[in-house]
């Protein structure tokens, strides 16, 4: 074997070894266990995930929770892609995949960070949902920022920060009249 071929073989072996071993490096625990379940004015009840939801998560962790706050009753979905980053998408992309049309998308300022207000319609129904990512810092809405943070976390073995979680909140009762006023308090209450 020529020296060049030996070097190339070493490169291949290193590539295979790194690809197999890197994802096995233990990472710090996820924030999903710290999502508040009760607090002053907040109570909640977990719902079981459906078979379809479990299949879509494919190893990622998810929470489906009915949340009661002073401003109403809500359905909260939280996705943690620590074990399967591909389970976390741009929320608009997920809803479109389920057949919803995004008729509006608005970025709402919070006391620190931002959340997205999505207006979703089908021919005979419509609703609005609040979506945001959080890694323990200010909430954000950009999927690109999510990808960058989640990738950097894996490459740095968790040193760069926590795995961002995706939060989607929709009202179970009548739609709120003023999301802009409600969003900061809701996000602050429900985000660890």
């Amino acid at each position: 074997m020529t020296p060049r071929n030996s070097a190339l073989a070493a490169v291949l072996i290193a590539a295979v070894a790194l690809s197999l071993l890197w994802p096995m490096i233990p990472m710090p625990p996820s924030l999903i266990d710290q999502v508040p379940t009760s607090a002053q004015g907040l109570s909640s009840r977990d719902l079981p995930l459906s078979e379809t939801e479990t299949r879509w998560l494919a190893g990622a962790r998810g929470i489906k929770r009915v949340v009661r706050t002073p401003s109403g009753i809500w359905l909260l979905a939280v996705t943690d892609g620590s074990n399967n980053r591909q389970a976390v998408h741009d929320p608009a992309y997920c809803f479109r995949g389920e057949g919803w049309t995004i008729s509006g998308r608005q970025t709402l300022p919070l006391s620190s960070g931002h959340a997205s207000l999505l207006s979703l319609t089908k021919p005979d129904e419509s609703f609005q949902a609040l979506a945001w990512f959080s890694d323990g810092g200010p909430p954000f809405t950009s999927p690109l920022e999510y990808w960058a943070k989640a990738t950097l976390r894996r490459l740095s073995c968790g040193l760069s920060g926590n795995e961002p979680l995706l939060f989607i909140l929709r009202p179970l009762g009548p739609p709120p009249k003023n999301w802009t006023d409600l969003a900061p308090e809701l996000v602050a209450t429900l985000t660890p």
């Binding site: 490169v11 291949l12 590539a15 690809s19 990808w147």
Partner: protein, 154 residues
């Protein structure tokens, strides 16, 4: 006396293609399960056939060995960081690098976007889900353009 150029290590290209292909195996699921990636597999077949047609007969691209190693590195970083798009870029760069001239390779590299889930995401973001059906047409157009550029070289 002029020294003989080293023979192209085709075995390395083949092994790297198998490795990068294996790291991208999740694409098959994305194409099968995600409605906005419905035409991704068809676009991939068009793209891969285009690469095979344009790269044949093999040119002896020993000078592109660094690109092959770089493609491998990109795939490994994508795997370590769990960023699928990097793995797709690595595979596309590896295979497109077998084409000459460079502009034809660049066109086929850009055309690789037609089989990626990123196309579906951008389509749903900016153009609507029906834009997904345009993948094969863009792939074919890119192949024709690359073929026109590659023709005088053969």
């Amino acid at each position: 006396m002029k020294s003989q150029p080293s023979p192209t290590p085709w075995w390395f290209l083949a092994a790297a293609a198998i490795f990068c292909g294996a790291l991208n195996a999740g694409l098959v699921l994305a194409w099968a399960r995600d409605p906005s990636n419905r035409y991704g597999s068809f676009a991939f077949l068009i793209w891969a056939a285009g690469i095979a047609l344009l790269a044949w007969p093999p040119h002896g691209p020993a000078a592109r060995l660094p690109v092959w190693v770089a493609s491998l590195a990109i795939c490994v970083i994508g795997q370590a960081g769990s960023l699928q798009v990097l793995k797709q870029v690595g595979l596309a760069l590896l295979l497109a690098s077998t084409i000459r001239p460079l502009p034809a390779a660049a066109i086929m590299l850009a055309a690789a976007s037609t089989w990626t889930p990123a196309w579906g995401w951008l389509a749903t973001h900016f153009a609507g889900p029906s834009f997904d059906g345009s993948r094969p047409a863009f792939g074919l157009a890119a192949f024709v353009a690359a073929r026109l550029l590659a023709s005088p070289q053969k």
